[in-house]
């Protein structure tokens, strides 16, 4: 059973800087299933059976996307509406996702300091992800606080490459055979799994 599924959503990857660098790195990792939602469903017509089958086959589900207007891009909402069916993902008979882990990998243009009371955005970013948290709980999953890359707007090329290596180390740790899944119950958020020192590319 493959362990990690990344559901990736970016409506304009050709204009992205951070994700355009993250994606090739993720695709190069052997034990990760990379599911590019906009590439598969350019008309937002999500194939429910295929998506449910992918979810069933994995233990850790990571939603990777940029934050737009304090939320995920449109196709993630479409995906949620269609794939997380009553009776399958939740409800009396909805046990398909029971015990799985879920989290988000997020890039944000602004710096962390702007996501707090009194800052430009007023609240911590984690708080904007409340719907994801509760969705995971309703579907009997364990939600792990997200992996966030802040301040993308100000990053230069070398910063971005550094970020790519950081996430790589996290994903490598998640997929390594001797990684104990229960570790995920103890950590604050995914960023904690960053292995230092960062391997240079």
């Amino acid at each position: 059973m493959a362990r990690v599924l990344i559901n990736f959503a970016h409506p304009a990857l050709e204009k992205s800087r951070m994700h355009a660098h993250l994606v090739p790195m993720i695709k190069s990792l052997p034990d990760i299933t990379f599911n590019d939602l906009y590439e598969h469903y350019p008309d937002l017509d999500v194939n429910v059976a295929r998506e449910q089958e992918l979810l069933s086959r994995h233990e850790i589900i990571l939603m990777q996307h940029p934050m737009y207007w304090y939320n995920a891009p449109a196709i993630v909402r479409q995906w949620q509406d269609l794939v997380l069916e009553h009776g399958w993902a939740y409800g009396h008979t909805g046990n398909a996702l029971k015990g799985k882990y879920m989290s988000n990998i997020i890039s944000a243009g602004s710096r962390e300091s702007e996501y707090r009371k009194g800052g430009r955005h007023g609240f911590p970013l984690q708080q904007f992800l409340l719907p994801f948290t509760q969705t995971a709980i309703l579907c009997n999953m364990n939600y792990i606080s997200p992996y966030i890359i802040y301040g993308v707007h100000r990053m230069d090329k070398s910063d971005i490459i550094e970020e790519v290596q950081r996430l790589k180390s996290v994903l490598q740790k998640l997929t390594s055979p001797d990684f104990d899944l229960t570790t995920l119950d103890q950590i604050q958020d995914l960023n904690e799994l960053i292995q230092e020192p960062i391997q240079k590319a």
């Binding site: 050709e14 204009k15 350019p42 008309d43 934050m67 207007w69 243009g109 430009r120 707007h153």
Partner: protein, 631 residues
Amino acid sequence: MDQHSLLFQSMVYLAAAILFVPLAKKMGLGAVLGYLLAGVIIGPSVAGFIGKEGEDIMHFAEFGVVMMLFLIGMELEPALLWRLRSAILGLGGLQVVLSTAAIAGAALLLKVPLSAALAIGMIMSLSSTAIVLQTLNEKGWMPTAAGQSSFAVLLFQDIAVIPMLAIFPLLAVNAVASEHSSPSLRDNLPAWGQTLVVLGAVTAIIFAGRYLVRPIMHIIARTRVRELFTATALLMVVAIAVLMNLVGLSSALGAFLGGVVLANSEYRHELESDIEPFKGLLLGLFFIAVGASIDFGLIREQPWLIFGLVIGLMTIKTLVLLGLGKLFKLSTDQNLLFSFALCDIGEFAFVLLSISLQSNILDKQTTGILTAVVAISMAMTPLLMLLYEKLVQPRFTITEKSTRKADEIQDEHNPVIIAGFGRFGSITGRFLRANGIKATILDMDSDRVDALHKLGIKVYYGDASRYDLLVAAGAAKAKVLIIAMDDYEKTTSVVRMVKKYFPNLQMLVRAKDIEDTFELMDLGVLHIYRETVDTSLRLGADALEMLGVRAYHSHRAARTFLRQDEKSIKGLSATRDDKKEFVSALKERIEEMEKLIASDKIRTWLDEGEGWDSSGIRDEATGEPDVPVKK
């Protein structure tokens, strides 16, 4: 003929065509009849502008036949032959054999000697490929069951000419020595030897086509001089024709073989597109020549004999064809069309008649009369088709309809009516059906109707442009009418009628191209669907994707393009003026395409800031410390 009179003759031919073809089309007679009429008028019998010596005309006629056979040969793809094999061999074979037998039998009864009777039977069993195919295409009947069957039979006849040409010398075995002037290799050979020479020549051409033409064409292709292709093709035809003449065969057959040889070459499409422009004009020339070759003097002398023969021959052929149509399960109206189309006598007859005259199978008087008979029967084909269209087809529409109409009115009040259930309408129909929407379906192809009946789909045979039929189909109560007919003129007449009598019925109309779209817009149709636009754009989007563009971007680019395209078309439609009547349709189409392409402005709309473009925010971010997430 000096150069002056050649130019003069060309002028007469062209002027006659330009004058009479549009006239005939306007009167609903079709282009073929127009050419024939032009030929009659300028021919020696009426105005006498051309061919006072008669031989000039036959020269022109033969040139037309030669070129046409060349093109028919080029279209004889092995794959096409294979697909139609049962129709070609069964239907075509039986038609030729039975018609030959019947006509030869009739000739025997008239005390014609056996060999001559057989020759006449074979000659008269053939139909006119040029006129029939041209007329079927013009009326849009090619895709119908009758059209396909006709094509198959004509194909078999085209092939059957080859053995016929080989058999003719055998028929002449008892005749007096050939009296025709041009010396040929087979003159002094016994009959079996002549047949051998003929078969040898045919084999030689096929062999040369296989192993000689390809390398030559390859060299020509490398020169990259386009017109050399046309020149090579023509040279081949002429060379083969010369070879055929040398062994005493018709150059028409040679050209036909030349065409078949080229059909197998990889340069075929190149050559076809080179020669395509000549095709229409040459066919026109041929029809004019047929018209001009009708010898009214002979007809005046023996009108009863000649018209008796025409009617007799065409009746025999019609009866044979009707029987075969029945055997091959054509419905009554399709069978009638099939029989009417093929009951004429074809242009091969001219060639075969001249050969049988040369080899003394038939005497000069007989061939003269038969030539007139053939020409008259050819001229009658378009008239018969017109008769079918105006009298027979509507009658069948009424009778077949009324028997089925009765049960329809009682139990069907469907919200949707689909007019036309061909390759376009059937997809729409299936889609609606899959979504549980009930539709009343009307279609003009009775065989398709029957086939759909067998699949359990209720389809009504009938012409949706008839008022009573639309009423019967429930047009007064239906919400939506989908017009997806192949025939565009029918489409506009349905639109006009619905606008007049059922103003509340919403129409969704299929259009073929921009021309149709404009006309439908002028008629006030709001929902127009150009039939290839969505598919082309879907293909374009997939191509973008294969080139590495993100799927979502390709998808949106295609949608944007469609929106832009429809806007441009609306704009163009508004600025069109009355000049359009005077500009040729083709030129206009090209101009409109140019305008559309100019209005695409691909750069601007592709790069216009999408919401996800964060470069602006990035610029701000590096200048100011405080920045919004996005936008």
